[in-house]
């Protein structure tokens, strides 16, 4: 099967790759662009470990085909920190020990950053439901939720 040439923007950089029409955006990010921060936990859109933002919309990269990225912008975990400066969410996740193994962390950070951009003042319940598509098996979510609520409060204060 012949491959398709895809031009897209990932974390602000213009990139291109050749992909088989059957390959997912997640495959292309990981295998063709070496952006392995997005993880495959299920391949069926159930676990959220591959969460990325596609033209501003939070999606599971395993449910998007690579060819669909043509002409769009993709934001992944690798683009959250600016240079050596971590995003407040990243700092709080480390401080609160909001990760144990860390495999779900990239997806949860991408999803949460997207939430706070839409709703800077979410309730605990809103955070829990927003993250209902991001599975974590280690933490019981407690420290994740605390880290997010504290980050949101701090970011609101910082304006």
């Amino acid at each position: 099967m012949s491959k398709i040439h895809v031009n897209t923007t990932v974390n602000g950089d213009e990139v291109d790759f050749l992909c088989d029409p059957r390959e997912t955006l997640l495959d292309c990010l990981r295998d063709k662009l070496q952006l392995t921060g997005s993880k495959e936990g299920c391949g069926t859109g159930d676990c959220g470990a591959c969460s990325v933002v596609l033209d501003g919309r939070l999606v599971c990269a395993c449910l998007v085909l690579g060819v669909e990225a043509e002409g769009k912008t993709v934001d992944t975990v690798e683009g959250i920190a600016k240079g050596q400066d971590l995003h407040p969410l990243q700092e709080k996740f480390i401080k609160y020990a909001a990760l144990q193994c860390g495999i779900c962390t990239p997806g949860i950070l991408v999803a949460t950053k997207n939430l706070l951009e839409r709703n800077p003042n979410p309730t605990e319940t809103e955070v829990r439901y927003w993250l209902a598509g991001n599975l974590c098996r280690c933490t019981g979510y407690d420290k994740i939720i605390r880290a997010i609520m504290d980050t949101a409060a701090e970011m609101r204060e910082a304006g």
Binding site: D20, E40, T44, C101, R128, C136, R137, D142, I144, R146
Partner: protein
């Protein structure tokens, strides 16, 4: 193992909550997990799996797959060692692992590997699987533990039973455990109330979010490299070498960052297959499992069928207890029936106790360890009966547990006498907790349970090397499954007297250290921690020796204080303290590199107990359950990094909530797994759970220099029971089968209504 050089107070670093060393890597996407590694010239592997629960493999024709463009190798059982250590049966674990990794004469469960392909792309490898032609003769199958033991059940494998099994049992019963003390019949006769009931739990999967993944490279010279996500890379080295007929030391294994294990990554599945493909293709081969492969062919824990009988006096004294525990562990021996039996009554000081365990084979995947293997199910059954006894006799559930609690000197239900343990302290903390004293709302139920786990020591080797600038690097051999590198650095900082930030802890590969047992049995902070402390002490002794040389005084006239060598007393001489960095700065000229070592098999792990409190609500119309409040109280011995201890408590509770309420392996009549994905196998979501409160109790373990007890596993022992007690109270009907999913609750309510 009592230690002479223990330290249980005045810690400077231990007990603080610094940031973990791998934090930045893990929040930026830089951390390399199993599937994140590549190699030049790498091929992609894929595995063909049996669609049948039980079938004889009559033939495998791989010719069409081999002819597909891009396919570089196809392997079947014939490509593995024909003589792994031992043969079928209990002592032949390498043989069992081989049989599981690649089927021999029979496919034994839905998902059992039968062949594998390596190709230039993952898509071609997957396409090639469809071209492999396997002819099966489908056989009768059995997946339920009680049915697998019954007369007429299909035999999974003749001759697998060991000598412990009584005569006359079905060949699927492969191990038997019988222990206890006293006279249970006499004990039941003394009781004012005796209750007897049966319980069942379904198999649950460890459910780590990272599927198994590896990258193997092996030449025909027998030298190889393996990168994989594992809880134990020395075990992977040993097992892969056995299955491929290699010399162990010729295979170097590096553990990747691990995306969760919980016991499920304590063995090998795809690693020997990748190496076999690599040897045949003479190129590196990467294999990554799909989620459905993870569910069908790895883990899960055992399912159980249990009978419990307990007698109690009106004052709450338990007079006798007995239990029968039947565990189905898939198509191989190894279900942890002895752990289930031995843990069942461990929290209680009983004069009369008797427990029997059966390890039963069925047509399911080979069970793997899951967080305190076997213990949570036993607690579910036992603590449910205790709860009923308390209710019928009008007694407080914590008071009854306190009245019967095991303590130092108690002869445990499984034999030995307990040393210092903290069960009473967890019960007292639970009783005093605001949660326990807060009234329930209408429609809510509260449940209490205790839980017990042995904990483990195991073979351990640690090396601690000092750098010229006065910093330290620790090499440990236990993969970090929950933040253990931070704990190791804290313990080393305590001994060396240098800041936590000046220490880097690395999980070393198999070529770097002596054998390290798997990260299992809650052993890492205990055993690697003990070894880190001892290795640091070894380095400190060497530092003191250099100071003694410099000062020209005897070695024993120097001691170590706050990161400096100092004269041990007035008679030793008058010298200024010599800081660590001053000694290491010119160590090359004063005797060479300074490295501390420790290699041993520590045996003082120290058992651990927990008490959990749960409040639950049940929707009587739909059967939906909600956990409204949860508190974990557990003895950690000494919390090295309290935040990560809390994390273990919360994680165990959350997994227990999933096990209790939703998670289960569902098999159809055809013996095929019907819910091999996270949509249908529902683990707890953020929106399902409340905050999980924690109380860390610290009753020092005499077997660790700082009193550490492992904390990872005990946290999953009480939840099934505590939740069952809460849900049963809220529903008004006793739930004796897990999971307590909405259909089961609705059925139980209906049955109660119908009388």
């Amino acid at each position: 193992m009592a230690l002479d050089d223990t330290k249980t107070k005045d810690f400077k670093f231990v007990g603080t909550r610094p940031e973990r060393p791998d934090g930045v890597d893990k929040v930026t996407g830089r951390a390399k997990f199993g599937a994140d590694m590549t190699a030049p010239g790498m091929l992609h592997g894929a595995i063909l799996r049996s669609p049948h629960a039980h079938a004889r493999i009559l033939s495998i024709d791989t010719s069409k797959a081999e002819a597909l463009k891009g396919v570089k190798a196809v392997v079947t059982r014939a490509d593995f060692s024909t003589n792994p250590t031992f043969g079928p049966g209990l002592t032949g674990e390498p043989w069992n692992v081989l049989e599981n990794v690649m089927a021999g004469e029979k496919a034994l469960y839905d998902g059992h590997a039968v062949a594998a392909v390596a190709a230039t792309s993952a898509l071609i490898a997957r396409d090639a699987l469809k071209l492999i032609d396997v002819t099966y003769e489908v056989l009768d199958h059995v997946t339920d533990v009680d049915k697998a033991m019954a007369e007429g059940a299909p035999v999974i494998r003749e001759g697998a039973a060991d000598k412990s099994v009584p005569a006359g049992m079905h060949p699927n019963v492969v191990r038997y455990h019988d222990s206890g003390h006293g006279d249970v019949e006499a004990g039941f006769a003394e009781a004012d109330l005796v209750l007897e009931n049966s319980f069942k739990t379904e198999a649950t999967h460890q459910g780590y979010i990272e599927p198994h993944a590896c990258l193997g490279s092996l030449g025909n010279d027998g030298k190889g490299e393996l990168w994989c996500t594992t809880q134990g890379h020395w075990y992977a080295q040993k097992m892969c070498a056995a299955l491929l007929g290699l010399e162990t030391s010729q295979l170097r294994v590096t553990a990747s960052e691990i995306g969760g294990g919980f016991g499920g990554k304590t063995t090998v599945f795809i690693e020997p297959v990748a190496l076999a493909l690599s040897r045949k293709a003479n190129k590196p081969v990467k294999i990554v499992m799909s989620r459905s492969e993870v569910f069908r062919a790895t883990g899960p824990t055992a399912s159980t069928s249990m009978d419990i009988k307990i007698g109690m006096k009106k004052d709450g004294t338990i007079t006798a207890a007995s239990g029968v525990f039947r565990l189905q562990g898939g198509a191989f021996p190894g279900a942890p029936c002895e752990f289930t039996a031995m843990c069942a009554f461990a929290p209680y000081a009983l004069e009369n106790v008797h427990q029997i365990g059966y390890d039963v084979m069925s047509n399911r995947p080979k069970q793997a360890a899951y967080r305190a293997p076997g213990s949570p199910m036993a607690a579910f059954a036992v603590e449910s009966v205790i709860d009923d006894l308390c209710k019928e006799l009008g007694l407080d559930p914590i008071d009854v547990r306190l009245k019967n609690a095991s303590h130092k000197g108690t002869k445990a239900s499984f034999g030995p006498r307990f040393d210092d343990i903290g069960l009473v302290e967890t019960l007292e903390a639970a009783k005093a907790h605001e949660h326990y004293n807060t009234p329930l709302k209408e429609g809510q139920g509260r449940g209490i349970s205790c839980g017990f786990w042995f904990n483990h020591g195991g073979e351990t080797a640690v090396s601690l090397a000092l750098s010229e600038d006065g910093t330290a690097q620790i090499s440990v051999g236990t993969p970090d499954i929950g933040g253990s590198r931070a704990s190791m650095a804290l313990m080393a900082a305590e001994e060396l007297g240098i800041p936590y930030e000046h220490i880097r802890c690395t999980v070393a590969d198999t070529a770097t250290l002596g054998y390290n047992e798997i990260s299992h049995g809650s052993r890492v902070t205990y055993a690697s921690g003990l070894a880190t402390i001892k290795a640091a002490k070894d380095a400190v002794n060497k530092l003191c020796k250099r100071a003694a040389q410099k000062w020209g005084i005897p070695e024993d006239a120097v001691k170590w204080e706050d990161g400096c060598a100092v004269p041990s007393g007035a008679n030793a001489g008058d010298f200024d303290p010599l800081p660590l960095a001053k000694i290491t700065a010119n160590m090359g000229a004063t005797g060479g590199p300074i490295v501390g070592h420790f290699e041993a098999t520590p045996e003082g792990a120290g058992v651990s107990f927990a008490t959990h409190i749960v409040d639950a609500e049940v929707d009587h119309e739909t059967g939906k359950t909600k956990i409204v409040r949860y508190t974990v109280v557990q003895d950690a011995g000494k919390a090295i990094h309290p935040t990560y201890v809390e994390g273990q408590f919360q994680g165990g509770a959350a997994q227990g909530i999933g096990w209790a309420l939703n998670e289960e392996y569902i098999y159809g009549d055809d013996g095929r797994l019907q819910n091999a994905g996270f949509l249908d196998y529902r683990i707890p979501l953020a929106s399902d759970l409340p905050m999980i409160d924690t109380v860390i109790v610290e009753v020092a373990n005499p077997g660790h220099p700082y009193g550490v007890r492992g904390v990872g596993e005990t946290s999953i022992c009480p939840p099934l029971a505590a939740i069952a007690n809460a849900v049963s109270a809220a529903a008004g009907v006793r739930m004796r089968e897990l999971p307590m999913s909405p259909p089961r609750i609705v059925a139980a309510l209906k049955a109660a209504q119908d009388g």
